[in-house]
């Protein structure tokens, strides 16, 4: 008398399997639960164990053969008296946990959660396989005590688009109790608006906190007479717009000057990596751009190899793509220094947070006409000049005040000299 080894029911809609490899051959002695054969189906590899101890008397399906579920693929002759004569039970899918007669089937976690929450499992609809009650079902039932327990869709059959995190167990949905805990002691007042952070906002927040915690930021500011740049720009802006289709802004001038100064002060074009300061040979400048969905910092690669017009084109391309959400992960890679241009409108100056793992970031202030003192022919005079503040934040772990100020004042010098070829 022999026991059949059948291709077991592996799962819903799995109707057949392919014999990948026999781990035993005819005549081999096998122990119960010893792996006999490897069977593959789409995305699943199953090792089928022996249902009984005994001798493999016959192998009925060859390697490479695809057989339907339920097919006998081998026979085992049980040995001696230990054999359960005549039993031919499926091998890998033996006892399905029987539905108990005295109550609904539930996972241990669900039972535990139900007792914690005082939920009667009898009233909970199970969303698990075969109607088993899952912990999430108990949570839904506990959250909606009055309503009849609705089954939580845990394994939807059709393709689903998950555009929002599910309510239960979510860390993003707002609930008052959680907010109280987080706001530690703050009691929400009538009219307060609580806006949970979007996932993207949280990721940005991670970076800000990480940078501030990692790098001791020091700020230094220069006041720059942009008269020369304004003149160059006024001279070229009409023709430039005609030739290129976009406006020549101040940003490429700043990038151009910063890149040249970075070559003279490589301490600012660096990263702190463990216990070393790595000064980078390449200069890739990140340009912080505000977009609808938040701040992104696409990178102008090899900015030191570009002319002013080349920089203008690169900046225009990146900011247009950022606005149209066409920025790729590659565009964001590898920046070695960052320039932030937060726009005009009353922005005198401010210190940006360093974009890790870089060690410096330059932030542009508003360009405004201002009375300044100029000396001409031994006489001091108050004149009206277009002025801009540039604020440098640097990582004091890697950079000291002398090179930081040296860099910033070199940027100023280059901008005030205004020797640009267009």
């Amino acid at each position: 008398m022999s026991v059949a080894v059948v291709l077991p029911e592996l799962g819903e809609s799995v109707t057949e399997g392919t014999i990948a490899k026999w781990l035993v051959k005819e005549g081999d002695r096998v122990e119960i639960d010893q792996p006999l054969v490897e069977v593959t189906t789409d995305k699943v590899d199953a090792e089928i164990p022996a249902p009984e101890s005994g001798i493999v008397s016959q192998i009925l399906a060859a390697e490479g053969e695809t057989v339907p579920v339920g097919t006998a693929i081998a026979q085992i002759d049980p040995s001696g008296s230990a054999a359960t004569a005549g039993s031919a039970r499926p091998s890998a899918a033996p006892q399905q946990a029987p539905a108990s007669a005295d109550g609904p089937r539930a996972t241990p976690a669900a039972v535990h959660a139900a007792s914690d929450a005082g939920v009667d499992l009898g009233g909970v609809a199970g969303s698990g396989p075969s109607g088993r009650i899952m912990k999430s079902d108990v949570a839904s039932a506990a959250a909606a005590p009055a309503a009849s327990a609705a089954p939580a869709p845990s394994i939807p059959a059709a393709p689903v688009v998950a555009s929002a995190p599910p309510a239960s167990g979510s860390t993003h949905g707002f609930d008052e109790e959680r907010a109280r805990r987080l706001f530690s002691g703050y009691t929400l007042q009538e009219g307060d608006q609580v806006k949970p952070m979007s996932p993207l906002r949280k990721i940005v927040a991670d970076h800000m906190v990480y940078s501030k915690r990692t790098a001791p930021h020091v700020g230094t500011v220069a006041e720059i007479d942009m008269g020369g740049i304004v003149a160059v720009r006024n001279q070229h802006k009409k023709a430039f717009k005609q030739d290129h289709g976009y406006s020549l802004t101040f940003l490429p001038f700043i990038v151009h000057a910063a890149v040249r100064a970075l070559r003279e002060f490589p301490q600012l074009n660096a990263s702190v990596i463990e216990d070393a300061i790595v000064e980078k040979r390449v200069i890739h400048v990140g340009i912080a751009v505000e977009t609808e969905k938040g701040l992104v910092v696409p990178v102008v690669r090899h900015a030191d190899r570009l002319s002013l017009a080349g920089l203008a084109a690169a900046v225009e391309d990146l900011s247009a793509r950022a606005r149209n959400k066409k920025i790729s992960a590659d565009d964001l890679k590898g920046g070695t220094f960052t320039i932030s241009n937060p726009g005009r409108n009353g922005n005198l100056y401010g210190f940006a947070i360093i974009n890790q793992p870089q060690v410096g970031i330059l932030r542009m202030g508003e360009l405004v006409k201002r009375p300044v003192v100029r000396s001409a022919g031994g006489e001091d005079a108050i004149v009206i000049r277009p002025m801009m503040h540039l604020a440098l934040s640097y990582d004091h772990r890697a950079v000291d005040g002398a090179p930081a100020n040296g860099f910033l004042f070199r940027v100023r010098e280059l901008l005030e000299e205004a020797e640009f070829d267009l």
Binding site: K43, T107, S130
Partner: protein
Amino acid sequence: MSSLLQIDWLGTVRYGEALDQQKSLVEDRKAGRSGDRLLLLEHPPVVTLGRSTRPENIRTPLDELQARGIDVHEVARGGDVTYHGRGQLVGYLVADLEARGAADVTAWLRGIEAGLIEALAGLGVASRRIEGMTGVYVDDPESDVPRKIASIGVGLRGWVSYHGFALNATMDLAEFADIVPCGLQGVEMTSVAKELGLASDALLFDRCRSAVEAAFASRFG
């Protein structure tokens, strides 16, 4: 509260080492010495060849890959060729499906997909499954072809499952160029970083990791 799923972060583990560890956990699980486990880790670059790998799905000769420091493993599993590398969050689930009340590997695959879809939603990435193509996909607004963000494959020893999923968190997608992942011609890979338009850095990888931990703890814990 007791948990049905112990989740561990193992850091960077070579493929062969992680496979041995899974095999021993499968034995522990079968013998009742351990509960269900989720191992989260990253692999150094490795190409793994399943039993049904077709040669045309490997675009770069294997010896050239090895010369570039990429491990090559032939694995006793179904399916075609896959690639794992830095920035990919690999999750190996060793779980007794029968003890979970669902001796059904299809439901298990759908459950893993659902866990990943939930984790991605928590990161702000809308994703979905596709009938007949195990894995998790993201619709491309400019194309009819969705991009694949996570691959799934499991092994069964009796009713104890192992292997699991690989979520492209912050990985360099260009590294897939050497192969046709899972033999799916024409399906492009994507990553969380790419979908969010964010830099591929360690902070984002950590976010992906905690989103996956939260989703799997709530679904399977």
